[in-house]
């Protein structure tokens, strides 16, 4: 298991500081467009942090996590469709809706392991995708337009900077929460069950229940990111939860370094940078992007966090494939 290295922590905190100063910098340099990109980065980073919690620390490769982003966005969009703009109502629906979806799908998919788990989470993600495509009331394929952002007392997120710092504060909150959970008894059980479930069972910990709790927490956190994304883009569509989105989310986590606190943040930044740069070069940039993905998997174990802490990477190498009998 990769542990967060001092250098990576320093880089992560530095990156957060940069994000906090970004509005000032883009304002003075007249790069307003980039603030939008950075804001999107922050929101996606929350989603990646939530996925990293179960994927990196818990070994649960959820290939349907984009569904939670979509559900969170629709939790804002559907009430707004009926002219209900109360932010607390939206948050309540996010927590209950994503929590319930995570609880049901998690309860079923966590009964399985490895490849089964990957494919089942993927299938459940697609289920949500197709369900929203076929609900005409909420726009189906075409999606929904959200005419106004969620309303909170005092905090007026309609204003650009306030929304930006709300997102940033949420990201820091998410990172702190994951940091605390991972180092708690709960997190120890999750990590322990990843490396040796049988031993954890022998110690008296029912791994299934702990995993399910982690899965639900992660789903709700990702739903929250989705709610922010819905507010941010003010247009939502089922396309947000397609399985390729889930794949991208996993790639962000792995690119940054799964199982490290700031890894997902690095991953999202790198991912969006690559996307921006490549799509500026050619319309066929996906082919280069795919090649980068393949090369990262084949040659760069541990992601960016692994590169930052290169000495560890030799030790942190992925163990040979788990016993197929498992």
């Amino acid at each position: 298991m990769l542990k967060t290295h001092p250098i990576a922590t320093l880089a992560g905190l530095g990156l957060l500081l940069l994000l906090a100063l970004a509005p000032l910098a883009t304002e003075t340099l007249g790069l307003a467009f980039w603030l939008d990109v950075i804001n999107r980065t922050i929101i996606l980073a929350i989603a990646a942090v939530s996925l990293n919690f179960i994927l990196g620390y818990g070994g649960m490769v959820s290939f349907g996590h984009a569904a939670f982003i979509g559900l969170g966005a629709y939790a804002v969009g559907i009430p707004a469709h009926y002219d209900l703009y109360s932010g607390f109502l939206h948050l309540l629906i996010v927590v209950l809706g994503c929590g319930a979806f995570a609880l049901i799908t998690g309860a079923i998919s966590l009964r399985t392991k490895g490849v089964h788990f990957i494919m089942i989470t993927m299938a459940f993600g697609q289920m949500a995708y197709y369900a929203f495509i076929s609900i005409e009331e909420y726009g189906g394929d075409d999606g929904l337009v959200i005419y106004a952002r969620s309303e909170f007392p005092v905090l007026d997120i309609e204003q650009r900077l306030i929304f930006y710092y709300t997102c940033l504060a949420s990201l820091i909150g998410a990172l702190y929460l994951v940091h605390r959970m991972v180092n708690s008894r709960f997190g120890m059980v999750i990590k322990g069950a990843k490396s040796n479930e049988r031993r954890m069972a022998a110690l008296g910990f029912p791994a299934y229940r702990y995993r399910l709790a982690a899965y639900v927490i992660s789903g709700m956190m990702c739903g929250f990111a989705g709610a922010l994304l819905g507010n941010y883009t003010s247009f939502i569509s089922p396309e947000m939860m397609g399985w390729t989105r889930s794949g991208e989310l996993i790639f962000m986590v792995v690119l940054g370094g799964a199982g490290t606190l700031f890894g997902p943040l690095f991953g999202v930044v790198a991912f969006l940078l690559i996307e921006e740069v490549l799509s500026g070069i050619t319309t066929y940039w996906h082919i280069i992007f795919g090649a980068i993905l393949v090369l990262v998997v084949l040659f760069a174990k541990g992601g960016i966090s692994g590169l930052l802490t290169a000495k560890r990477s030799a030790l942190g190498k992925q163990p040979a494939k788990a016993d197929p009998a498992e």
Partner: protein, 307 residues
């Protein structure tokens, strides 16, 4: 209920199920032996359709398109296996899905570059453009019957090869204990490459068969691959028999659900409510089925005996 319409829907379900089986067969074979999960399997389905379309356009013969297209698709699969996939066998499943996700991006964009963004229609020869009379005065397209026939023939062929030939014996042995087969002097890498290419060829062939109906387009493989996953999850990953049964169940339930669910729901709820909910539920039907199967049997209906 209109019986002839029901019969047509049954046949449509069977045709969809057979097609799903052809895609799922390669997936489950490769997984059974190599413990390798290939998201890009659907890309070969797409590539098969495009290759066949081009050859059909050049030679003016759909049959030639299929006959030349299948080995060409297998070749693409073989090259992919040798260049990227064989280095992944010893990695964990996360690496499998990520690398093959990258391959999907490469293949999809590659097709976009070569054939353009628009779909490609594939004309059928006249003798396949006919219909077969069913009961009463209803008709069913000959071509769909042909798909069912070819699919069942491939299923039978696979069953024969896997269960009654020496290669099949090696495949089964490799699935139950890879190391032992290697220790007995079998070139397991060659066997892997062979099985992978055959799976790719079958997937490519199924893409070619569906393309005249739906036309070849980018992303067609990504749509079917998820359902193929559902099929092999229901059937038990690694089992050909499971893939066959799972594919037929999924094909039937999906087709019949889309046609009849709204009528069934109208029996016990208001017409309005049924018309709103039925499309969403019928879209979710196969996934709900998967969830039920998994809740009862986490390893699927026919899990392979030894792994």
């Amino acid at each position: 209920m209109d019986m002839s319409l029901f019969l047509i829907q049954l046949l449509n379900g069977l045709q969809y199920g057979v097609l799903l089986f052809l895609v799922a067969a390669g997936l489950t074979l490769v997984f059974g032996i190599m413990d390798f999960i290939n998201l890009a399997h659907g890309s070969f389905y797409m590539i098969g359709a495009y290759l066949c379309g081009t050859i059909t356009a050049v030679t003016d013969s759909f049959l030639l398109g299929v006959l030349l297209g299948v080995p060409l698709t297998a070749l693409v699969g073989y090259v992919t296996e040798r260049s990227v996939i064989q280095t992944l066998y010893q990695r964990d499943h996360l690496d499998h899905v990520l690398a093959t996700f990258g391959l999907i991006l490469i293949f999809d964009t590659g097709v976009h570059i070569i054939w353009g963004a628009e779909g490609m229609a594939i004309p059928l020869p006249a003798w396949l453009e006919t219909s077969v009379p069913l009961v009463g005065d209803s008709q069913f397209p000959t071509y769909r019957i042909a798909i069912i026939a070819v699919g069942l023939a491939v299923a039978a062929g696979l069953y024969f090869v896997v269960n009654h030939t020496k290669t099949g014996m090696l495949i089964r042995a490799g699935a139950s204990n890879r190391r032992m087969v290697e220790a007995l002097g079998v070139d397991i890498r060659l066997l892997f490459a062979l099985v992978f290419s055959v799976g790719v060829a079958i997937a490519g062939a199924s893409g070619m068969m569906i393309a005249p109906i739906t036309e070849a387009r980018i992303g067609m493989g990504n749509d079917i691959i998820i359902i193929a996953f559902v099929v092999i999850i229901i059937g038990g990953i690694g089992s050909i028999k499971g893939a066959f049964v799972g594919a037929l169940i999924v094909g039937m339930i999906d087709t019949l659900g889309r046609s009849y669910l709204d009528q069934m729901m109208k029996l016990f709820m208001s017409v309005d409510a049924a018309e709103t909910a039925a499309p969403a539920i019928s879209a979710m039907l196969v996934y709900i089925l998967m969830a039920i199967v998994l809740a009862l049997r986490p390893q699927g209906l026919f899990p392979p005996k030894t792994r």
